[in-house]
């Protein structure tokens, strides 16, 4: 059986047919609150059930529980507060119980029932979610730029956010049917924002030895400068799968979700979201969702101990390297040989070589993948996208 959705029921807040028509008309008359791309992405993730059991943006009770206890007020594990921040001026005349239209780039995206308007302490948010309020932390820095009031309440999505990767986009209902049709019962999900090297391939294949199928699930959407571009990551994986994976054991699909760099808390969040997509297992990386030196290398593994009720099994697979003596990818646990035989797989070194137009050694990256990467004019995100 694929995983039961978090909270038991897959949320669907995508308005369709007559109901959508009615809400679209209603939205024209409603007070309007503009949202940026981050919140538009949250809206879609809520509406299509990736954030089940959330039916909208957090109300204060849930928000405080998530901050303090890493759980919703119904005790379900939830670690990243999904909140809508609004400029207080935009809230003038608005009362709890009213409906508003959330507008993205001039188009109404969703109708929201305002259940709760409340204040938040951005410093407290940063310290609890990111374990720091340093402006050097991209998540904390972004938090301080957000508006001063929070608005919680259920949403109904009435339009989709333009998505350049439509052909790679599957929502939880779709992956669940897909896994069922393929006859998969144990599904392992792999989260990534990187191009695949031999270490990633090793970890995925190690997990595949005791599962039925692998969901490679790159996060797309907002990136920070220096990150690999979305199209680059997808092309690299497509090539790797074509040459090195049996086609019937792997699904490559892109997930548009905000990246917060919240380290351990975000590792739990990533696992919960993949549970909603039907995964039974989730690979947790070393320094998963970390940034710079803000988290210890295994903090994201340790936090799972606090959640015996997560409903998805985390897999902690050690870092792999190439051993010339063993003649393949190994880990500290499987290879007795010394440093002279070992090729460490360094993402940083691969990145530098690619920047110079060089093909990294085959022990680090499959040549087919490297070739595809070098065919791109631009591999990395250059500057922050504005919207």
């Amino acid at each position: 059986m694929v995983s039961r959705p978090h909270g038991g029921r897959l949320v669907n807040r995508v308005a369709k047919g007559n109901r959508r028509q009615r809400l679209l008309e209603e939205a024209r008359e409603l007070p309007k609150i503009p949202v940026d791309l981050h919140r538009a992405i949250d809206l879609e993730d809520i509406a299509y059930g990736a954030f089940s059991p959330l039916e909208g943006f957090l109300v204060e009770d849930d928000y405080l529980n998530v901050l303090d206890n890493m759980r919703l007020s119904n005790d379900l594990p939830w670690t990243i507060p999904i909140v809508l921040d609004v400029n207080p001026q935009q809230l003038q005349g608005l009362r709890e119980g009213d409906d508003v239209a959330l507008v993205y780039r001039g188009d109404p995206l969703a109708v929201m029932r305002v259940e709760n308007i409340y204040d938040w302490d951005k410093k407290e948010f940063s310290v609890k979610v990111f374990k720091t309020d340093s402006m050097k932390h991209p998540g904390a820095a972004r938090t301080y730029q957000r508006e001063d009031k929070l608005v919680g309440g259920e949403i109904d999505l009435i339009n989709n956010v333009p998505n350049p990767f439509q052909e790679y986009t599957l929502w939880p209902a779709e992956t669940r049917v897909l896994f069922e049709e393929r006859g998969w019962k144990r599904i392992v999900a792999f989260q990534t924002r990187n191009v695949p090297h031999r270490g990633h391939e090793f970890v995925q294949k190690a997990a595949l030895t005791f599962t039925d199928g692998l969901l490679i699930h790159p996060l797309i959407g907002w990136k920070k400068p220096g990150d690999y571009r979305d199209e680059v990551i997808l092309a690299a994986y497509k090539t790797l799968i074509k040459h090195y994976y049996p086609q019937d054991v792997v699904v490559l699909s892109a997930l548009r979700m905000n990246m917060n760099y919240a380290g351990p808390r975000e590792a739990i969040h990533h696992a919960i979201v993949r549970k909603n997509f039907g995964a039974t297992h989730f690979i947790v990386g070393r320094d998963h969702a970390g940034v710079k030196d803000f988290y210890g290398p295994y903090e994201a593994w340790e936090i799972f101990r606090e959640f015996p009720d997560l409903g998805i099994t985390p897999l902690f697979i050690r870092e792999a390297f190439y051993c010339k003596k063993c003649g393949g990818m190994v880990t500290e646990k499987t290879c007795p040989h010394g440093g002279e035989y070992r090729v460490k797989i360094s993402g940083t070194r691969i990145r530098e070589m690619l920047k110079r137009g060089e093909i990294p050694p085959g022990e680090m990256m499959r040549p087919e993948v490297a070739k595809v990467l070098l065919s791109f004019d631009k591999l990395f995100v250059e500057e922050q996208r504005r919207d």
């Binding site: 038991g8 029921r9 209902a173 779709e174 897909l178 049709e181 393929r182 699904v251 009720d309 409903g311």
Partner: protein, 74 residues
Amino acid sequence: MERKAKYTTVSIPLSLYNRIKEMIKDTGFTSVSQFVIYVLREVVASYEEEKQGTVFSEEEKQEIIEKLRKLGYL
């Protein structure tokens, strides 16, 4: 600003309390309460897992299969 977490009291036999207290020494659990909360969450979650999750109607399912075929996933 620290908020007080909300708790309530549940009674367990003192003998059981003492047994757990003895058992959790050097396990990383710092109190009997912490252990009891952990175990209860584990049990409740596995009980909930038994219940059926979302089921799709045949119509919904066919619509999804159609899309998956079109995208080449099936």
